[in-house]
Amino acid sequence: MRKIFDIIANNAVPAVFIIISAFAIPLSGYSASYLVQELLTRIGRNSFLILSLLIPIMAGMGLNFGMVLGAMAGQIGLLFICDWGIVGIPGMVLACLIGTPIAIVLGIFCGHVLNRAKGREMVTSYILGFFINGVYQMTVLYLMGWIIPITNPTLLLSRGYGVRNAVSLLGIRGILDNLIPTIITGTQGTAQFVNINGGKSFIMMQLPFLEGSIRIPLATLIVIALFCIFIVWFRKTKLGQDMRAIGQSQSVADSAGIPVNRTRIIAIVISTVLACYGQIIYLQNMGTLNTYNSHDQAGMFSIAALLIGGASVSKATIANVFAGVILFHLMFIVAPVAGKNLIGDAQIGEYFRVFVSYGIIAIALVLHAWRRNREREAARRSLRGNKGDE
């Protein structure tokens, strides 16, 4: 009985999402190929950001709400390449190169702060995100175009300094997604796609039972796959092993001579730098940068997706990331339309999206605390002697 209960309790969040989606998909009336297309796009867009959360979890630092620091670093890189007019893959690479040192500095700062707030990493990094947001806004709103040279008038506010809220990333839009154009198409879809692509060469696969066609962001998926391989490799290294040790018991790791604080800082730095790349990949897919908002929700939605994928504050796998992206975004895609078809109001979907992502984080945190208490109790039960089971 306890076992069944455990299985349900451990997978409650993904299960709820599967059930909701199972109802909402038919209600939305979307075709399978549309849903697959949308999901593929969103996997490409979001996975990298979510994957950047894994390493701090491994090091026992919980969900790194501080990943927005990395996202801001990435955005600063993007602003510079827009100003300098560098486009395409070189532009993206340059944005990464500019973002990396900023992310490293922010990561080191964040790591030092978190080392002073052991056991309260999540709330600290969350609030730290607000603080750095303030610094970022000051930089972007006042310093850019004034002290930091930004010359492109399309970027600047009409007053002459400060960056506009909406920045078009046309130069790098979809550049990674379409680097290796790939489509899967049903029998009827070929001609239609050749038209769209203007006669350029592309990889094409045919699936006879498919209706319509699906573009695959192959290069992005390859980057993500490489990242997954990196994480798998990282777990096998000494550094990864040290992080796992610290994650389970800081005091034991410390007494074994593992440099606890340093390792924790490394974990946060890696996460911040990866979040910086993740945000660049995310924005190249979106094609526009909301200077003052884009990073805001990067953290919240990534964390929600990871938790929905079945991860917890102390344990997360690569499988959780992809399960989370699929379930979370499937909900996003179908919920507004399902809501509209059901109630006649598309707002309900948007409401749902926000409600669900915050709600899920709350539930996951509560579940985590509850489970940890229960485990502690179970661990102590053996000490309660022969009468302990009453």
Binding site: W233, K236, T237, K238, L239, Q241, D242, R244, A245, Q248, S249, S251, V252, A253, S255, A256, G257, I258, R380, L383, R384, G385, N386, K387, G388, E390
Partner: protein, 547 residues
Amino acid sequence: MGNNPLLRLEHIGKEYYGNRVLSDISFDINAGEIIGLVGENGAGKSTLLNILFGMPVIASTGGYEGSIQIDGRKVSFTSPNQALAHGIGMVHQEFSLIPGFTAAENILLNREVLNASSMRYIFSERVSTLDREAMNGRARSAIHTLGVNISPDMIVSEMPVGYKQFIEIAREIDRKNTRLLFLDEPTAVLAESEAEILITALKKLAASGIAIVFISHRLSEVKELCGRILVLRDGRLITDQPSYTLSTRQIASLMVGRESVRREETPEVTETVSTETDAPKKKKKIRPALKVEHLWVDMPGETVRDVSFEVMKGEIFGIGGLAGHGKLAIPNGIMGLYPAGGTVKTFGKKLTLNKPRAALGKKMAFVSEDRRGVGLLLDEPLDWNITFTAMQTQGRFLVGIPYIFQMRNDLAMRKEARKFIDQLSIKCTGPSQKAGELSGGNQQKVCLAKAFVLRPDILLICEPTRGIDIGAKTLVLDTLKQYNKENGTTIIITSSELEELRSVCNRIAIVDEGKIAGILPASNPAEDFGMLMMGQVRNEEEGEFSA
């Protein structure tokens, strides 16, 4: 090496803030020797270990006296890592294992076998991957040395407790340069059969040239394993002799010492108690004030598993034993401060456990060992502190209509506080002084006053004299005795100081490894209690008493 011993201590001494805890400790340890180190709590064992391991606490409190030599060369460690580098290994009483790791991962923690990787030239060694095969191999051979069969792939959290101890020791063995191994109570968590395996394994280790210092309170094991026994008492080395020249009883009496100290007075209440036990006809039936049956209490670090005893009305009952064996858990469990089970009856009526309110409602009062944490509201004035529990549980010191509108009766509170300040001669500026500003001894008196205000039938007191000076100690103990005499209150005192218990109690129960080892009249010689503390009663052979 030559004729130099592996480790030589010369005139080691240590003071903490003018409080002498170690004086003039000198002994040698040779390679391959097994030495038993025994002593009561506070005898100075842990301070000695801290000095040997270069724990920061030693340096930060002014260092130590005397010198330590390894292979004839003088050393002075400032961090545990230096001690490790010199081949001194330590297995702690608490497990320092990572629960989610396998045996191999734990044994080789931070000493993992790494694959060669070109990346290490760019970054550091830490980016090399682990060579799991080689790690498992090394772990297996370390475990094998101990003569047990544990798979290196087994996750530590899924292991029985005994296995964990072996993993800890295997970790020290794997360290190639380990030459001297300290084991702090390694058998405390082991079943008898496991302890036997461990002892065999340690003998094998010693034969391979590693010196072992075995710290245990189980004297029979110490005697069986060790070639030499060192007894520490009150910071002095009392004896250093081959174990075959000592019987366990002799060891116990050396540890407890003070055989010559006779009890000066016998509290009169003993009469009532002895009538109960020796001559039941005189009084037909005395109901016990407190009857505890199969009590278990889950108090971290002080768990008791199965405790049964009876306390008669008007008795002063002592609970003693070594720290960590569970004596504190008994009163805390009865009062409902930690999860507990079993049956507790007061004057024949069953007490609801796990509800402090229920215990307070039965006219029981409690003085916690955690004076500043549980005992007092440090930022509140004395009169509040003294009357607080009475106000909350008995509705006293209030004016107004119960359940509808009630207010504090400050006047009555202050009056009551003044009464106790005079009675117990609490040194303070007045009832409105904050409790946190008083000295330890006076705070303890406030705690007692707080309990007395409740007019309890049963008073439970934990460590009444911990951390207070000698004068206050006598006063506190005398107050208790007097209170018992005047009001006939049943008092249960838990203390780690046996002499203190012997001076006030009628009977004393000794707790050992979560169980009552025995209950003896306080007039018994100290070494009897020592034997109980050392777990000698259960596996004691009659012959050894006479030896």
